[in-house]
């Protein structure tokens, strides 16, 4: 068996805030098997998606109460590295990130080519070589030649997002984390960016973690999908199965809450509101909103039940003994049939 490109195991990240710690990431595990694969992390706002990403980049705020778990990149354990080693070897060089809204915080008084080249120059590269490399990259992400000499305000939203992607790619990272990279863009420009990400997956074969609240958008890029809820991962597995045959009711509801173009049946609204992460519900965190909840759900936290495709789901419906007749009932979406 080969080592997977990325293996995250039992990752915890709690923040100090008031009396109770905020459980932003609470025992998350997933893997990216091969180079050039993408995993989608899907969940509502406040489900801990972005905290997970900042934990991988080790860009943690000061009020961290607990940071524990194992992150292995190409077999190398990252959590035991010192901050200095992590900065020198990993951050931007092996793992890079496109932050949410980064396209709106480009420096307005520095030419975009210089912003792309900045990390390379900081690392001691000759300025002219670095700028040439930036120009190459800007062209690679689909921008017209010579755009490196322009300023951010002269560019459209879609172009600025491409600049941000080029900035993240300047050190040839193996893994690119994208946090809602298209949320501020029109659907037609979003589709262009998604096509670009698909290209980058194939050539040069960058692996990606794609964070989004839209499971439909995740299906456009991701080979596997992790569903986040209240700091936990409630389901993980190959996209081919998760999108068609979800094993957690929350995933089923995410799918059935989306309007479909050619199906006039109204989608089912997601019931209730996301929980407070400093005081999560007892037992299964989703039970207050779950239409399938039964006796054990409010009392016991369901473990991660393994699924034979390498995934897992945190739901008692996957427990033959506890669930009885409910065992692996079809959590199908409103759009089936």
């Amino acid at each position: 068996m080969t080592t997977p490109l990325l293996r995250v195991q039992d990752l915890f990240l709690y923040y100090k805030a008031g009396k109770r710690p905020v459980h932003a990431v609470d025992g998350v595990s997933f893997t990216i098997e091969d180079r050039g694969q993408a995993v989608g992390i899907v969940g509502e706002s406040g489900s801990g998606k972005t905290s997970m990403a900042t934990a991988l980049m080790r860009m943690l705020p000061k009020n961290v109460e607990l940071f524990r778990g194992s992150i292995q990149l190409d077999g190398q354990e990252l959590t035991t590295l010192s901050d200095d080693q992590f900065r020198r070897q990993i951050r931007w060089k092996k793992i890079a990130m496109v932050f949410q809204g980064a396209m709106n915080v480009l420096n307005p008084v520095v030419r975009v080519g210089e912003q792309v080249a900045e990390t390379l120059i900081f690392e001691g590269e000759n300025k002219r070589t670095a700028l040439a490399r930036a120009d190459q990259l800007l062209e690679r992400v689909g921008l017209p030649a010579g755009i490196g000499r322009r300023y951010a305000h002269e560019l459209s939203g879609g172009q600025r997002q491409r600049v941000v992607i080029a900035t993240a790619l300047i050190m040839n990272p193996e893994l690119l984390i994208l946090d809602e990279p298209t949320s501020a863009l029109d659907v037609s420009i979003q589709a262009q960016i998604m096509n670009l990400l698909k290209d980058l997956k194939e050539d040069p074969g960058i692996s990606m973690i794609f964070i989004t609240h839209d499971i439909g958008l995740a299906s456009d890029l991701c080979d596997s999908i992790a569903v986040a809820y209240a700091g936990q991962q409630v389901e993980f597995g190959p996209a081919d199965r998760v999108l068609v045959e979800p094993r957690h009711p929350y995933t089923g509801l995410l799918l059935s809450s989306l309007p479909r173009l050619h199906d006039p049946t109204p989608p089912t609204p997601m019931p209730g509101e996301p929980p407070d992460l400093s005081n999560p519900p007892s037992g299964c965190r989703f039970h207050p909103r779950c239409p399938y909840a039964f006796d054990p759900c409010p009392k016991i936290m369901p473990p991660e039940y393994p699924i034979d495709d390498g995934g897992h789901a945190r739901c008692f419906l996957n427990d033959q003994y506890l669930a009885g007749d409910r065992y692996r009932i079809h959590l199908g979406t409103a759009h089936d049939a």
Binding site: A38, E44, S45, G46, S156, G157, G158, Q159, D186, V187, S188, I189, Q190, A191, Q192, M194, N195, K198, H213, D214, I215, G216, L217, A218, S219, D220, L221, C222, D223, A239, D240, L243, V244, L253, L254, L255, S257, L258, P259, R260, L261, H262, P264, P266, P267, T268, P269, M270, E273, P274
Partner: protein, 364 residues
């Protein structure tokens, strides 16, 4: 519909509504349709903004170019298109928040194009807007009750008790129940979906007949969007409110619109019943907008999306030929770059401005 607001409204409103419910039952009887004026009618409207280029030079931006729409009573018209297509300008024009350079705006048959702010007061109470961003459109220092009661204060509702009662009714109408629990909160104590419902309650508290919903769900989690949209759809059914639904997401329009107008660079390129336009789009731009929508499907990641390249050029000049020419995958040089296609009815009630379907041109 609670009738506590009846005193604020001209008496003709309710009779018109009952006539309209007749016409809804018989949608194709032309006699009845002619007899009842639509909620909103915009005819041949153009909006030109002046821009400054340097100290002495000024330029022009043609935000809307000869646009006509109608929104019936208890009907929703989706205005779809990319940023810069003029959809927001058109929505605001129907509220007289933007002045037309040319053309007319009618509200329930009454011409409001040139009314002064003072004469518009009755209209301002009956036409409302819901903004895109629930995070910045609510004053963070005001409690939900104060936010919702503010329009009533402006309308001169003196009794604090009545204001609170009506605010609570509006909160109940948007499912923020119990009203007392949400009314005393500040916006930052609520989720995006809840804040947007406060924005809707603020519009509802005046019992409007017409609401412009300007991208009301684009900043909300995908899973909460349908909740907001079905709330708006219920207001339409239960209270007979008419909506202009401004969006760049055509999929969401399917559930919350009767008709759609697809806009590109200040003009309507295709319009028709929502189902017909989505299932049989005619204009290459509409086809591209629909192809861009990702629906959850594991096969998606193995195929590239058919997207139109580039982004719309800015609307500084009203082009003398098809505005979509430079990006169109089916353009016909020699035809499309010499004249502007006119909006022509191709199928019943389904019109498109494209030379693939008709050679009619806009008169220069």
């Amino acid at each position: 519909m609670p009738d506590n607001n009846a005193g604020n409204q001209p008496p003709d409103c309710h009779s018109e509504r009952s006539e309209e419910s007749l016409s809804l039952a018989l949608p194709y009887d032309p006699a009845i349709i002619l007899a009842t004026p639509p909620m909103i009618r915009v005819e041949n409207a153009s909006v030109v903004f002046e821009t400054r280029k340097g100290l002495f030079k000024s330029g022009e931006v043609h935000a809307l170019d000869d646009v006509s729409i109608e929104i019936g009573v208890a009907e929703t018209l989706a205005l779809a298109g990319e940023s810069g297509s003029g959809k927001t300008t058109l929505g605001r024009l129907t509220l007289r928040l933007v002045e037309p350079t040319e053309g007319t705006i009618e509200f329930l048959g009454r011409d409001i194009t040139h009314l002064s702010e003072h004469e518009l007061k009755w209209f301002r109470q009956r036409a409302q807007i819901v903004f895109q961003d629930p995070f910045s459109s609510l004053n963070p220092y005001m409690r939900v009750w104060d936010l919702i009661e503010e329009p009533l204060q402006i309308d001169g509702v003196k009794s604090a008790k009545e204001r609170r009662e009506r605010a609570n009714e509006a909160l109940a109408a948007v499912d923020l129940i119990p009203a007392a629990r949400f009314g005393s909160k500040y916006p930052n104590q609520m989720s995006g979906g809840q804040r947007q419902r406060v924005g809707i309650a603020r519009a509802l508290v005046r019992n409007p007949d017409y609401i412009v919903a300007d991208e009301p769900v684009s900043m909300i989690d995908a899973s909460s969007r349908i909740e907001i949209l079905s709330l708006l759809a219920n207001l339409q059914t239960n209270r007979g409110v008419s909506f202009a639904y401004i969006t760049h997401d055509i999929a969401s329009a399917r559930y919350f619109s009767d008709r759609i107008a697809v806009m590109y660079q200040g003009t309507i390129v295709e319009t028709g019943p929502i189902g017909a336009v989505i299932d049989h789009p005619l204009h290459p731009y509409t086809i591209a907008l629909i192809a861009a929508i990702p629906e959850p499907d594991p096969a998606n990641r193995h195929r590239r999306r058919d997207v139109v390249p580039g982004e719309p050029s800015n609307a500084a000049d009203a082009p003398t030929f098809c505005p979509f020419f430079s990006r169109c995958p089916r353009r016909m040089p020699g035809t499309c770059d010499t004249a502007r296609p006119a909006l022509v009815e191709i199928e019943r009630d389904h019109s498109v401005a494209c030379f693939l379907y008709s050679s009619a041109t806009v008169e220069p």
